[in-house]
């Protein structure tokens, strides 16, 4: 019995559907045409809650162009304020990440090279790290240039590592684990790291031990004779 009743109900619904569509069409046209103050629901037996009141009393009396202008003006103004706020937020956030004034003040170090005799090391502090400055003798420069670059672990010619051959400037941080190597020590007459036994030659290149890279060269320049600026 049950399947038959479901089928019959479906058939009845199908038959009713076009009729309802037609009625909906007619009511919508009637709504536009009629001057009645409320919308009459086409469905019988519905509560009063389904009645849509007339909002004509609340509608703007101003012409549509004025309303449109005002709406777009408000949208544009809010957009502009939002854009300014977003830009400001991002800008302040990025500014927060840049170097502060005290860091920038420490960023450059000036060294008087006349105080460093030939064949001597000087260690200065730059940005919290030691920097080795060596006034190399002609013999040491020759020794640094004699090395066969192809056999090195980190191949770099001595000319790539210095701006003036007599002045070797490099960061005094071992490229292995960051210890500070000892000057004028090691098997190659350069630097020796006591932590794990890395040997650097007179150009600061790694020759023996666990360190993977040559000692790092900071940015530096010679603004005038006898002056060195690191950073």
């Amino acid at each position: 019995m049950a399947p038959v009743s479901i089928v019959s109900r479906a058939a009845m619904r199908a038959a009713a559907a076009p009729a309802r569509a037609v009625r909906a069409l007619t009511t919508s046209t009637a709504l536009q045409g009629s001057s009645s103050s409320t919308f009459e629901s086409p469905f019988k037996g519905e509560s009063k809650a389904a009645k849509v009141p007339d909002f004509g009393k609340y509608m703007s009396k101003a012409p549509p162009s004025t309303n449109m202008l005002f709406s777009y003006f408000m949208v544009g103004t809010m957009g502009a304020i939002t854009a300014a706020g977003a830009k400001s937020t991002i800008q302040e956030f990025l500014k927060n990440m840049s170097a502060s004034a005290d860091v920038l003040a420490m960023a450059k170090v000036e060294v008087d090279l006349n105080a460093i005799p030939e064949g001597k090391n000087v260690i200065i502090k730059w940005r919290g790290k030691p920097v080795f400055i060596r006034h190399r003798t002609p013999a040491e420069i020759e020794e640094a240039n004699k090395v066969n670059v192809a056999n090195l672990r980190d191949p770099e010619t001595d000319a790539d590592r210095v701006k003036k051959p007599e002045w070797l400037v490099m960061l005094g941080v071992c490229t292995h684990l960051g210890c500070v190597p000892i000057g004028e020590a090691g098997d190659y007459g350069g630097w020796f790291c006591p932590c794990h036994g890395s040997h650097y030659d007179i150009s600061g290149r790694i020759r023996k031990g666990p360190a993977p890279l040559n000692l790092e060269i900071p940015l530096y320049e010679f603004p005038e004779e006898g002056k060195l600026v690191i950073g």
Binding site: Y72, G76, I81
Partner: protein, 59 residues
């Protein structure tokens, strides 16, 4: 009125352009205005207000 509408709001490119231009102008005005307010509230307490008492001797 409708001239303004036709100029700024009808074309989306012009509208967005006007919004960004307005944002730029607004930001300038707002930042300067807020700086003025801050300076007014903290008048006499900032370094630029008391600098002349200390630096004059060195100059």
């Amino acid at each position: 009125m409708s001239a303004l509408y036709n100029l700024l709001f009808r074309n989306n490119t012009a509208f967005v352009g006007a919004v960004f231009a307005g944002a730029f102008a607004f930001e300038l005005a707002y930042d300067n205005g807020m700086d003025k307010v801050w300076d007014k509230i903290n008048k006499g307490r900032q370094w630029k207000d008391i600098r002349h008492k200390y630096v004059e001797a060195e100059e």
